[in-house]
């Protein structure tokens, strides 16, 4: 994976993790009973962002790939449900409105990260010796 893209993604995921963790902590500490599902979801998204940042740093490509897929599915699902079934959401989550409160970074970031991660995985597969042609010695 391009090292510049990798470190910039780590910065972006760290900041989103920080923002989501701060938001969910305050929501859970101050008014969890008002909207338990959105606030729990914010906490889950914070954990996911931190996990992806750590996975990118440690080179756990599969964890990073699965994490970004879960993140993208989550933000699209929550964003869509926010419009379709607005009564289910007494308050906003990090992923509400496809992350509009965060400049739509929550929906754009996994797409960019997936692009880099899939490209890196393809490059690794091409670079790896094919089992049939590999020298048995």
């Amino acid at each position: 994976m391009n090292p510049i893209a990798r470190l910039i993604l780590i910065v972006l995921y760290s900041i989103l993790g920080l923002a989501a963790a701060g938001r969910s902590t305050v929501q859970i500490l101050e008014r969890f009973n008002e909207a338990p599902v959105p606030y729990t979801l914010s906490a889950i998204s914070a954990c996911l962002y931190v996990l992806i940042a750590v996975a990118l740093w440690r080179g756990w490509h599969t964890v990073a790939l699965v994490g970004t897929i879960v993140e993208l599915v989550g933000v699209i699902t929550v964003g869509t449900l926010g419009y379709v079934e607005s009564s289910w959401w007494p308050d906003e989550t990090v992923w509400t409105g496809y992350g509009s409160a965060y400049g739509w970074v929550p929906v754009l970031l996994p797409i960019v990260a997936l692009w880099f991660l899939v490209r890196a995985r393809r490059a690794a597969l091409v670079a790896a010796p094919h089992p049939a042609t590999a020298d048995p010695a």
């Binding site: 090292p3 510049i4 470190l7 910039i8 910065v11 900041i15 920080l18 701060g22």
Partner: protein, 140 residues
């Protein structure tokens, strides 16, 4: 808190603007990395001054939400180490880490990573500072 709204907050916004401007220049012309390092130093000073006022606000501003205020205080301080994150990819830093997956960057790549991080952190810092100003009662 007048000192905060008239001096510290504008100073933080000014260093954020400088971080973005010098960050963009560094992305194009890596020799500006030296200037970026100076701006990062100024950012540390401005943000730590802001952190001092936030702590002061915890004790002097009536009706302030302690979890929210502490959250923004920690967020602004936690953003600082991300400035200059390119240093983690220098060959010297990688040499002392046994992790084989650690990224190793050439000097121009270190400058570009620092520049990108500076732009991102500047935006996050400006937003957090704006929220802090509202909490401390200096904005709307």
């Amino acid at each position: 808190m007048e000192l905060y709204t008239s001096v510290v907050y504008p100073a933080v916004l000014a260093v954020c603007a400088l971080l973005v401007a010098v960050g963009v220049v560094t992305l194009i012309w890596v020799r500006a990395h030296r200037v970026l390092k100076w701006v990062v130093g100024a950012t540390y000073v401005a943000v730590l001054a802001q952190a001092g006022f936030v702590l002061l606000g915890l004790f002097t501003v009536d009706g302030i939400s302690i979890p929210t205020t502490l959250g923004y205080f920690l967020a602004t301080v936690a953003l600082l180490p991300l400035l200059g994150i390119g240093r983690l990819g220098t060959p010297d830093a990688a040499a002392i880490d046994p992790d084989p997956n650690r990224p190793v960057l050439a000097p121009d790549q270190v400058a570009r990573v620092d520049a990108g991080a500076a732009i991102i952190v500047a935006i996050a810092l400006a937003v957090a500072s704006w929220r802090i100003t509202i909490i401390l009662g200096g904005g709307s």
